[in-house]
């Protein structure tokens, strides 16, 4: 079980988190008694084999799934498992996702009918940020010349850079990245990871990165191996 060791006020605090699924008539515990603390600027690598609960944990940490036990505290908002699914809590989760939590998936992070720039603008505006610097974010991530292209007109690596630009344009407190380089070739994956860590460090936000890549995980300050949790 990983433990946060921050000296500043924690951004994320997870206590006794549990989640189970019913499968073929049996209950499968995916997460059980998980404890986790993460401060701003820190990074955590989530490791574990497929089905170990990495994506489930990320979904719980952004309120898209409800835990069965424990509680989550994030950016001063507290959510207990028994009340997490309630309407007001869903509203609070939505506000957190909109303004404080950026999520990057392995693929398909962009709206296909919008250009890269419009995607970034949409995400920034939803977060309540100005869309004036969206083009700059695309430039910083090395795809400044592709602002008017559509997602299907650029490569997979460029799409992931655009996804990172979207996340950073919203100025998040926490980034949840679910195998963001998993579908990219080694070189592109490295470039995208470089950008991710660079911008994360520069912005001072926290990062939780789910990955199978040990090298990538090694670049994070902390590491949590879900496979060892005996799920």
């Amino acid at each position: 079980m990983g433990q946060g060791t921050s000296v500043t006020e924690p951004l994320l605090k997870v206590r006794g988190l549990g989640k189970h699924f019913a499968s073929a008539g049996q209950t499968v515990n995916v997460l059980s008694g998980l404890e986790l603390t993460l401060a701003p600027g820190e990074s955590l690598a989530l490791m574990g084999r497929s089905g170990s609960g990495k994506s489930t944990l990320l979904n719980i940490l952004c309120g898209l799934e409800q835990p069965d036990a424990g509680f989550v505290s994030i950016a001063g908002e507290h959510f207990a498992a028994d009340s997490s699914a309630s309407g007001p809590n869903q509203q609070r989760w939505a506000m957190l996702r909109r303004q404080r939590i950026g999520v990057v998936f392995q693929e398909a992070n962009l709206m296909p009918a919008l250009s890269l720039l419009d995607n970034v603008r949409l995400r920034a505006r939803l977060a309540g940020q100005s869309d004036q610097h969206c083009g700059d974010w695309l430039k910083r991530l090395g795809i400044g010349e592709l602002t008017q292209r559509y997602p299907d007109q650029v490569s997979g690596g460029q799409r992931q850079r655009a996804a990172l630009a979207m996340v950073f344009a919203m100025r998040p407190s926490l980034i949840l990245a679910d195998e963001p380089t998993g579908s990219l070739d080694v070189r592109t994956a490295l470039e995208v990871a470089d950008e991710l860590f660079h911008q994360q460090a520069a912005s001072g936000c926290a990062l939780i990165l789910a990955t199978h890549d040990s090298a990538l995980a090694a670049r994070c300050g902390q590491r949590l191996d879900l496979a060892q949790m005996g799920a």
Binding site: S55, C62, A108, L122, L126
Partner: protein, 826 residues
Amino acid sequence: MFLFSASQFSNLFSVLFSHYRRHPLQLLALALMIMLATMLWTGVNHLTTQARASLGQSEQAAAARSQLERVDGQALTVADFVTLRRAGLCVTPWLEVERPGQGGRLVGVDPLAAGCFAQTAPAAGNNSPERIDSPESSKKPEPAWTPVLNGDPFIDISEAAELAQNVAPSNVSLSLLIVPPEPASALPADYRMTGFSLGPDTGELGDSFLLNLDALGFLVLLITALLLRSVYQLGMAQRRDSFALLQRFGVMPSAINRVLLVEILLLALLSVVPGVWLGRLLAGTVSGGFGQALDSLFDTPLYAGQSENWLTSIATMMAIVLVVCLAQNVQALLLRTAAVLSFALPAKLLTGFGVRPWPWLALPLAAIGLAVALLAQSLPLVFFAVALVFAATGIAAPFAIAALSATLARKTREPLACWRHTELGVMARRLALPLVALQFALAMVLAVQALVTVFEVTFDEWLGQRLAADYFIEVPAGASANAAAQWLAAQPELAQSGDWHQVVRGVAQLPAAANDPAMADPKMDNPKMADSKMAGSKTDRKAQSVDLFALGPVSPLLTMWSLQAAGDQPWQGFAAGEGVMVNEQLARRYPLAVGDTLVLTLANTRLERPVLAIYADYGRPAGEVLINLELLPDEFVPVFESFSISPGASDITMITDGLQRLWQVESVRVRDNKRIRELADAVFDQTFLLTRAMTFVTLVLAAVALLIMGWVFFSTRAWYFRLLQVWGLTKRQVLAQLGWLALTLTLSITLLALPLGVWLTWVLVHRINPLAFGWSLPMAIYPGFWLQLGVVSVLIGLSITLLMRSQLGGSSPKPVSAASLRGDER
């Protein structure tokens, strides 16, 4: 299959078919679509084929034959048949019975008597005293009449007699056909011969009616074909990744195509057969009403056993399903053939010169279609124009929505609104086929609804005019109508109210234009043939017969008629004998306008009078002249005479008793107009209900198709709605976005369907109806219908939203295909 063993083929088939195991609703939608399309088309086609065959049957069976009537007006019985046979005359009974339950008429004949008839039939037509034939037609040998007693529609008269016992007397009619004897005096004095006809020669009218039905059937087929293709194409789009994977595993594309062919063949066969059965069932259910409508409106009986067989319907629909679903394969095959034969141009044509999907083509197509619809003088051309305009709007509508969305997306500063607009554009393009089908169905419903309502209102008014008198009293053969008129005029009640007039019907001749060499054409002596030649300008006008309608005195029952066009005080002029009135059919075909001088020949008397007014005369093809009774020369021979009477406070029996005494007959035939009106209303209601039901089913089908397509399409976009949730929108907010999109899309297509529907109404009322039937209807627009259609489209949009709601509630969102991972769904 060559290159493939049976087990390999079977494996490949099960792999490909597994798509439908994952998407059973798609399979169900496809099967339902094929079945419903087959049902609708088979239903309409079954009725049309039956009607067309019945028309042919009428012409063949009744061609140039004569029938007998009793001079005393009594109904014919078996005793009459026996009497006539004993007199050595060739007589054959013809017993028509409405087929119980299934609709359509059966004809009972006596094979023995028919045999005698067949041997002597060739002479029959020429000797018929009631029929005036051209020299050409009299030279033609009469086809031998050898009815096959298989129920199509002939059966043995004993069976017909049995059936007749179980149906209402009004659905049974007995005629005695006769070969006119030589000499004519051989006919017993109690009988007289009249021409035997199963109804008046409907000529163009019948053909036009059937053409309209064909057009409705074609439109239904087009709409269902569009829907079928859209559902199939969507499935294919979802399976593209599987095909690519199989090809990577070494499966040849041709093998995949073969399996797909077998798959759709099986599915089509399984769906088409019940579809044909349902279609025939539908036709059987409505054929009662349809037959009644055909009989009442067009005097054409609907006979049993005239429809196409099962195999023809199944083969036709199978071919349509295969072509619609495998259009791309057919195109590829044609392209390959063109390449092999080095035909560069056909290949280019087949691919549309590489330009897709030709939005620019919509404008010239629409312009040509509108111009042709406005100017064309033949029905097929007008239908062609309608097809052009429909094609143009079908091409333009999705692009118009997409273009408008793109413009709005560019102009908006709100990124979420920008996304909504662009997403709407994607939907308009991706759902183009079901959208266009819905647009066509909406336009059709709008037009048919407006037309039917106009029909109902207009026919109601017209019936009110024509049946203004409470009773019709027929003048018996040999009785004096003039003496009766004098007697009626002397009745105090009638003299005070004036609510009666005498009616005389007959035939008048309109001369040819002076420079017309066809004036001497003997064909022109035949009223029916002449009438069909009436179209054209004054300069190529030919001699013709028209129906004559003489009335007098001019009663309040007449002056309430609403006239289509009239000069000043037309009824005063008419009462004074200063002019005549013509029906719309004659005015259109001759052509005539108010103030034109009409020259008529009545018996041998020439009458020249100005046209005072043009009156509406719905539901029949013939031209008609209305004149004051006083203008009729003494030598004029009426075909029919009657009196229209509203007795007011008096009892009609007092009048009929008086007339019986005057005419010295045992009874007079009195028709109660209220009852006729009720019957006519019932027939119209049934006819209109049929048309409405057919269009409504088409609309429901289109709506359901859009619903299914919308649902399936949104399923492929569910990931992006979940992205919005990930980006901080609540589920309710995401649902609102979804609702906005679905409602905007369905309302947009409804808005685009409105002008098309109004235009189609105009074409039906002002172009097709006058060309087909010779009379027009007033054009009316019913915004209430628009509102109803708006409500329907809102319901469709809301249904899509509600269906999608469950998908948004799913747990972990995953892109559904490689294409969506790449973002190819723009």
